[in-house]
Amino acid sequence: MSKPTDLVQGTLDLLLLKILALEPLHGWAISRRLQIISREVLRVSEGSLYPALHKLEQEGWITAEWKQTENNRRAKFYSLTRLGRKQLELEAANWHVLSSAITRVVRLSEA
């Protein structure tokens, strides 16, 4: 397995919000989902994931609920709040601005 790429600072929130926007998930599933969607490029360590989730919850962007999983175990499911949706839009917009700017810089042809 190749070394996972370090996340660009501050993008973890965006990724988590985006993933939770699709459907409510528990922490384990979030980390799996991240890996699968990004085709194993992005990997978030547990040491970053849970603090980030807690932060989002404390900000009121996501909310948590204890529910049964398909294996009949109790797990904490996170889902996006209305506030979180707004935050997601904001951060996604920011990301577009930032990434297109970086792309433009990278594509500059050497004179």
């Binding site: 040491g47 849970y50 404390q58 009121g60 204890w66 175990r73």
Partner: protein, 901 residues
């Protein structure tokens, strides 16, 4: 966004606080769930269960350390930590109960004193008008050269009311005056306080009567037509037994039948600080209060009796209101050049009015508050010193905490919480002390039959002040010790139980405390000493007559208007009265005055031009306070005539006009010349000439703290007045004359009420003994309290410093130092600190003296005696505080000192 966010975050925070265990358990469970999945995944990838478990734990390992961080994201740590700190502080304070007790008492004295003085300042300066939207209510005043706080006349009021646009109404009221009140015509009237107000008074102030209604504006239009009255709430409770049925009934005021139309609500005791009107009467009924038959309240533009208030319109600034009124005042000057010359107008806020330059009460309370804050400061330094000393003995505990990884900030917070609890306890006890002090102030009686209330009280505002003071003092006395005890060298801290790290840095704070304490208490002592001496001096000057009169003079007021006498009949009554009482056995002399010196009423003013005096180009006349007296006044009151003659029975209405002035008056207008025989002209250069026939000694007129003022006496026969005070000088006990006097009055008119019958001693005691006495006592007790606190604190600090050097002293003595060397060493240090404190305290004392002189006494130069007494005694006390422990230290056996830890 904001509210919605709270919706989510507040329950989370609450949960974190209230269900900390639950939240932590949930976190664990969540992580366990993740761990289980990791293990399952490992097994699925072909690892043995043991290997899978180890691998999973390795991955999760970093997480455990981040748990604390995750708890931090809940952002409630400060609160849960605070609760922990409180528990901790409670335990540790209980262990040191003696210290706790001392600290609480010290702080209670400081906080209580400050709270009491704040209640005074609040009542006299800050407490808002008891009406809705009080910030919009402003005072309109007439201003002249001699009086920046003058009233308006009725005519001027109407003009201002009708020609200004910046207000939602302009109201007027006269001063509260005595009215004779009776339920019906048959009963003898009793004296109550009545106040004339304009018809829109309640409406503009937005005060809704509790029962009945306020005035209609048409009830204040035709002079004398509508005899309606609104009863004050206090009066309603006392006189009408809180009976709502009083509305609609008829009562008698000054012999006129009035219909009660309303009762003022309890929330509205009136707009005045000290007096509460019993009856609100429309201005149109002004004739019942007319004092001077030559004056017409409704027509004379210079009969200025009304104080005006107005409610600013929304959107009108004070500045706009000011310029509008100035324009109007200029119009007045143009239209009535004779009456309104040099007269302006001012709009003042409640605060500006209450802190007027010529009022003594608030200045006193401000000075008193400064002193009280000083006491609080001394109390705080005391407590800081104690906590510092205590922090020293906790060195090892704090070192251990630091070594175990407690943050310095966290420890400071813990120590501050401890002092916060201490000062809150002190604050609670302080509230009690303050309550006692306020009750003491309230108990102070003022000898008048008008309903004067002492407005000082323990209310929510004062309690809030107590709370604020407690928090402030917690920081004042806790911060320095907390900072110092957490700044330490861990290694030495752990090695000894009680270490005084070498170097001067750590001693610096303690030395500073000693200096601050000496300085503050010296300042306080100086201030209170000066205040006592200032009052004493001002009491002694110009009150000789009062001390002589107090045991012999009986006073009684008469107001024949209450019995509907006309002017001629009134004067006849006074003539008969004085003639008859002079024949009563035991009466040495009798006299009449409008208001005796040190009396409770204001003196009237007189405008005049001294004949032959070069008037400044920009003014028409001078004014002076005056009194109307009869020919028996000076003898009875015991005010000597220094030159010229007394008034004589021959100074009648038809005789040439005469006056007696006081020495101050003579000195100001005819310096170096004899005033007797000179003339003044009333009102202006073309006014009635009045010859000065005598010069009386300058005495105190309004207060014993008065500066020397000019004063004019005019004979009653030449200036008829209806309300006069009869003075009787008795050979013996003045109260013996009371019955004979009653007989005389009864023979003249059986219904004539005798108002405010009392001996002059009452008045003297009030204005010269009790009033200033309370002030002197308060200041004295402040000074003594500050000194005692300072001595206790100083002794503790110095003694503590010396005790901590025991080992050093032991070594010095073991190496051959003599006890005297040790004594010199220890004392020397103390003396340097005391000297520094003294110098600073002296500087502050001089500053305070300047302040007090400019505000209260105007005595000029420095009071050398005060310093000569205060400074050495202060020095002596602090020397003693250093000497006793130093001596003890010098006596210690070296072996014992070395073993000491």
């Amino acid at each position: 966004m904001g509210i919605e966010r709270w919706w989510f975050t507040v329950p989370l925070r609450l949960k974190s606080i209230l269900r900390r265990r639950q939240a932590n358990l949930e976190l664990d469970e969540e992580l366990q769930f993740h761990l289980d999945h990791l293990i399952e995944e490992g097994i699925a990838n072909g690892l043995s269960p043991r290997e899978a478990r180890e691998a999973a734990l390795r991955t999760m390992g970093g997480l455990e350390q981040r748990k604390e961080e995750m708890v931090d994201t809940r952002r409630v740590n400060w609160l849960t930590d605070f609760i922990d700190d409180i528990h901790y502080a409670r335990r540790s304070l209980r262990r040191a109960s003696a210290l706790t007790g001392f600290v609480v008492i010290t702080l209670a004295l400081g906080i209580g004193m400050t709270a009491a003085s704040f209640s005074m300042v609040d009542a006299l300066i800050f407490r808002p008008y008891p009406v809705p939207d009080h910030g919009k209510v402003v005072n309109l005043m007439s201003t002249s050269r001699d009086n920046a706080y003058d009233n308006f006349s009725y005519r001027e009021y109407l003009d201002i009311r009708d020609h200004t646009n910046g207000y939602d109404g302009v109201i007027a009221n006269a001063v509260i005056e005595p009215v004779g009140f009776s339920v019906d015509a048959g009963t003898t009237p009793r004296v109550k306080g009545g106040m004339m107000v304009s018809g829109n008074y309640f409406q503009v102030l937005k005060v809704k009567p509790q029962f009945g209604r306020g005035f209609r504006s048409d009830e204040d239009e035709v002079p004398g037509r509508d005899a309606v009255v609104v009863v004050g709430h206090d009066c309603w409770k006392r006189e009408f037994a809180s009976n709502p049925a009083v509305v609609g009934s008829v009562i008698r005021l000054n012999g006129i039948d009035f219909t009660v139309i309303g009762v003022a609500p309890e929330s509205f005791p009136g707009m005045q600080v000290f007096v509460r009107p019993d009856f609100f009467i429309p201005l149109a009924m002004a004739r019942m209060f007319a004092t001077n038959p030559n004056r017409n309240f409704f027509e004379d533009r210079d009969d200025r009796q009304l104080s005006l208030k107005a409610r600013l319109k929304a959107g009108t600034t004070l500045q706009e209101a000011r310029s509008e009124l100035t324009v109007l005042a200029n119009d007045f000057q143009r239209e009535y050049p004779k009456l309104n010359r040099d007269r302006g107008a001012a709009v003042r806020t409640q605060f500006e009015l209450r802190t007027r330059g010529d009022a003594v009460e608030w200045k006193f309370t401000v000075i008193f508050s400064i002193l009280a804050l000083g006491v609080l400061l001394v109390a705080c330094t005391n407590v800081a010193g104690l906590l510092l000393a205590r922090a020293g003995t906790r060195t090892r505990e704090i070192a251990v905490r630091l070594a175990l990884g407690a943050g310095r900030f966290r420890l400071i917070r813990m120590l501050l919480t401890e002092s916060l609890i201490l000062s809150c306890l002190g604050g609670l006890a302080g509230i009690f002390v303050g309550y006692l002090a306020i009750e003491f102030l309230r108990a102070f009686s003022i000898p008048t039959s008008l309903p004067i209330t002492i407005p000082f009280r323990m209310d929510a505002r004062v309690l809030l002040a107590c709370l604020a003071l407690s928090v402030v003092s917690a920081f004042l006395c806790g911060l320095a010790p907390a900072l110092q005890s957490t700044r330490m060298d861990l290694v030495t801290g752990l090695k000894t139980a009680d270490v005084d790290a070498p170097g001067h840095k750590r001693l610096w704070g303690r030395n500073l405390l000693v200096v601050a304490q000496v300085a503050t208490s010296l300042m306080l002592l100086t201030a209170s000493f000066l205040m006592m001496r200032g009052f004493q001096q001002s009491l002694d000057a110009g009150t000789d007559f009062a001390r002589a009169a107090k045991d012999h003079v009986l006073m009684a007021s008469f107001d024949p208007r209450l019995m509907q006498y006309d002017a001629a009949r009134t004067q006849r009554f006074f003539e008969l009265l004085t003639d008859r009482v002079r024949e009563v056995p035991g009466v040495q002399s009798a006299g009449l005055t409008q208001n005796p010196p040190l009396g409770l009423d204001d003196f009237e003013a007189i405008a005049f031009v001294p004949d032959g005096y070069q008037m400044p180009a920009d003014r028409e006349n001078f004014t002076s306070t005056m009194d109307t007296v009869d020919e028996g006044f000076f003898e009875t009151m015991g005010i000597p005539i220094m030159r010229g003659r007394d008034f004589l029975p021959s100074d009648t209405q038809d005789a040439p006009r005469v006056a007696v002035v006081n020495e101050q008056f003579a000195k100001r207008y005819w310096p170096g010349a004899d005033a007797v025989g000179k003339r003044i002209r009333l009102d202006g250069p073309a006014g009635t000439p009045v010859e000065i026939v005598g010069v009386a000694q300058t005495v105190k007129y309004r207060n014993t703290t008065d500066r020397r003022t000019e004063f004019v006496y005019i004979p009653l026969a030449q200036r008829p007045v209806s309300r006069m005070v009869l003075l009787l000088r008795a050979g013996g006990e003045p109260t013996q004359l009371l019955e004979p006097l009653k007989d005389v009055v009864r023979a003249l008119d059986p219904n004539m009420p005798m108002v405010e019958t009392r001996t002059y001693e009452d008045l003297y005691r009030y204005s010269a003994v009790e009033g200033p006495g309370v002030a002197v006592k308060l200041c004295g007790s402040m000074g003594v309290m500050a000194l005692m606190l300072a001595i206790a604190g100083l002794y503790g600090l110095v003694a503590y410093n010396v005790t901590r050097r025991t080992r050093e002293i032991g070594i010095r003595m073991a190496l051959g130092a003599a006890p005297s060397d040790v004594l010199r060493l220890v004392m020397g240090k103390g003396l340097v600190l005391v000297a520094m404190g003294t110098v600073i305290g002296l500087a502050m004392g001089v500053a305070v003296e300047r302040l007090m002189n400019s505000m209260l006494f105007n005595s000029g130069g420095l009071d050398v005696l005060a310093y000569a007494l205060v400074v050495p005694s202060m020095f002596l006390v602090t020397m003693l505080a250093a000497y006793v422990p130093a001596r003890r230290a010098a006596r210690i056996e070296p072996t014992e000192a070395l073993r000491y830890e």
